[in-house]
Symmetry: C2
Subunit: 370 residues, 2 copies
């Protein structure tokens, strides 16, 4: 049975990305590496829509939260964390762990952060240095209205720090035009690579904040990464194989065309939502802010998410995911980002229909329990 | 021309490791991952010779310095950094960056830290909480007498924090028997994997120190990593492809037999040193502490390291490395760790002989400069 890998991360690797990782090691201070790394940074800037800097570390998206905090802020700084799901909540918790004074704007999971709510929260907390935003909340399948939120934050004089883990490379993301100061992501979502890279775009205001920041730091230090990147290098040994993969994935994205990639994801989002609705299942996210990279929905009445997931996996080879936190057994999530195409989602929806019937069917009279 | 990859890291990937990375993504919270990760940890403990914990992050050896500091120490703690080369120096600098009170024991590069010198330094600094030791100093090709140094540190009541980046998996390293409290390494040296994993062994005293440590932390937090590892998981998305590679490499090491691996490296060290001496070139490291994973030597009289390296690369396909810091043009380094065998070093030594002759030859009368 072919696996239909519908986790909202890690996501399937395209054949070209898998093949790229068959390359042997190269000297990481030599010209071949410099050429590779400079081309990666050039392409990554295109996809982030920035003329600023993109920097890369071994890490994950979560490491990006830490890197944003220790590079742009100082102990005791007040920040506003806009939380609409599990990942926004974790970002806020990392702020607290590092001694920030974290104020929270919480909305019910499944809803988006609206610019009006953010305006009100920032009016109530005029002293915050930064706003933590989640572009696409992977745990609920909500895409926040990032351009409007960023505008609100900037109007209030706050830095715009964006978790773009499940949006970068799939959804419109205009680092420069929207005024984003720090945009972090991980390689294993729409970037179509294995987990293991943390990628960050840093704008001019991000660098100004960095110059003022007083956290001790070393591995995530932006200045060291930039000094090296400007010479086509990294401060410590670069994760070569994952960079081979990222180069191949960036080539795929730029080759398809960034607007075409966004369009494909929007079509996948529409297809998935329509398919779920047709089965009579309830979509979890506010439809006005439904994500084009991950769709969450409730299992059939009386059925747990884990029961449905088990049948999807066992009978249909569909690997999907349940909810997080209090949603653990209440929602199922289908990822449709990165190396995802119409056929994959069509098959997943057919499987969902059959699996829903299987788990919903009352036990037959006289049937022998297996 | 086949490349003879003699960098002291990254090192060549065995075919089995390259092949292992052709595997697609798997659910990182599912049973297949738990089986993989538990087996990796079991094998890694064998190779670290510990019944304690081994934990793994996306990262590099340098990240291990930071992880050791933020997990086992507190701001203002006095530590003794034993420095005999560039990597020991950088470890000390990371301590300073994190606000530790770093006392230094420096010996000339090329020499080892002796137990007597460490005893004296610790007698002079009885207040230090920890000693930073470099097991094998990659920048000079020196293996420090770790068991004796660890004993000295413990007798003085100091934690033993060991950079084993270019020793773990190649040189005898007895985490438990030698009383090492934190042993850090990166995947790209004797572990025969691509760069991108940071691996740490933590002993009982390390955990006690961790319980007292007051640094803010998140990504490198030992407790979070252990809580997850005990369930066969990682706190954030694991770098699956690199873990596939590490599993394959650990199988190779355990399959060959750890003592056989140590023996192979010792033979490679002897072969390399003997070959260099036979060419009349000066070995850089104190012969009593010569490393079996990397050999540093001076280029022929009147020749710079970079000139020799260029001919080795251009005419012979040998990728070696120069020195670091003040040694940049004064030494050449051959790595012989991980996926390295007698034939590789024999070929490299033949190339060294020829390249030395090329760079040492006086320009011929009437020759037209190219």
């Amino acid at each position: 049975m072919t696996i239909n890998f519908r986790l909202p991360g890690p996501t399937p690797l395209p054949p070209a990305v898998l093949a790229a990782m068959q390359r042997e090691m190269i000297p990481h201070r030599g010209p071949a590496f410099r050429d590779l790394f400079r081309e990666i940074l050039r392409l990554a800037k295109l996809v982030h829509r920035t003329d600023g800097d993109v920097l890369i570390w071994p890490g994950t998206g979560s490491a990006g939260w830490e890197a944003a905090i220790v590079n742009l802020l100082s102990p005791g700084d007040a920040v506003l964390a806009a939380v609409c799901g599990n990942f926004g909540d974790r970002f806020a918790q990392v702020g607290t762990a590092f001694g920030l004074d974290v104020r929270r704007l919480d909305v019910p999971w499944g809803e988006a952060i609206t610019p009006e709510a953010l305006d009100r929260a920032l009016d109530a907390h005029p002293d915050v240095s930064a706003v933590f935003l989640t572009h696409n909340e992977t745990s609920t399948g909500v895409t926040n209205p990032l351009p409007e939120l960023a505008r609100s934050a900037r109007q209030h004089g706050a830095l715009v720090i964006v978790d773009a883990v499940s949006s970068a490379g799939a959804l419109p993301l205009e680092t420069d035009a929207w005024g984003l100061d720090f945009v972090l992501s991980g390689s294993q979502k729409a970037w179509m690579c294995p987990p293991g890279l943390m990628i960050a775009a840093v704008g001019a205001r991000g660098w100004e904040a960095h110059a003022r920041s007083r956290f001790p730091r070393f591995f995530w230090d932006l200045s060291a990464a930039k000094r090296s990147a400007d010479q086509g290098m990294t401060p410590t040994t670069p994760p070569l194989t994952l960079l081979y993969a990222y180069r191949a994935a960036l080539d795929l994205i730029v080759g398809e065309g960034l607007e075409a990639v966004w369009g494909r994801h929007h079509a996948l989002g529409e297809q998935t939502r329509e398919g779920v609705r047709e089965l009579g299942l309830d979509l979890f996210a506010d439809p006005a802010y439904a994500s084009d990279t991950v769709t969450a929905f409730a299992p059939p009445t009386g059925v747990t998410a884990s029961a449905l997931l088990e049948v999807l996996r066992r009978d249909h080879g569909v690997e999907a995911q349940g909810g997080q936190g209090h949603l653990v057994d209440r929602i199922v999530r289908f990822g449709h980002m990165g190396w995802a195409h119409q056929d994959d989602l069509r098959d997943a929806l057919v499987a969902l229909k059959r699996a829903s019937a299987t788990v919903s069917a009352p036990p037959q009279a006289g049937a022998i329990p297996s």
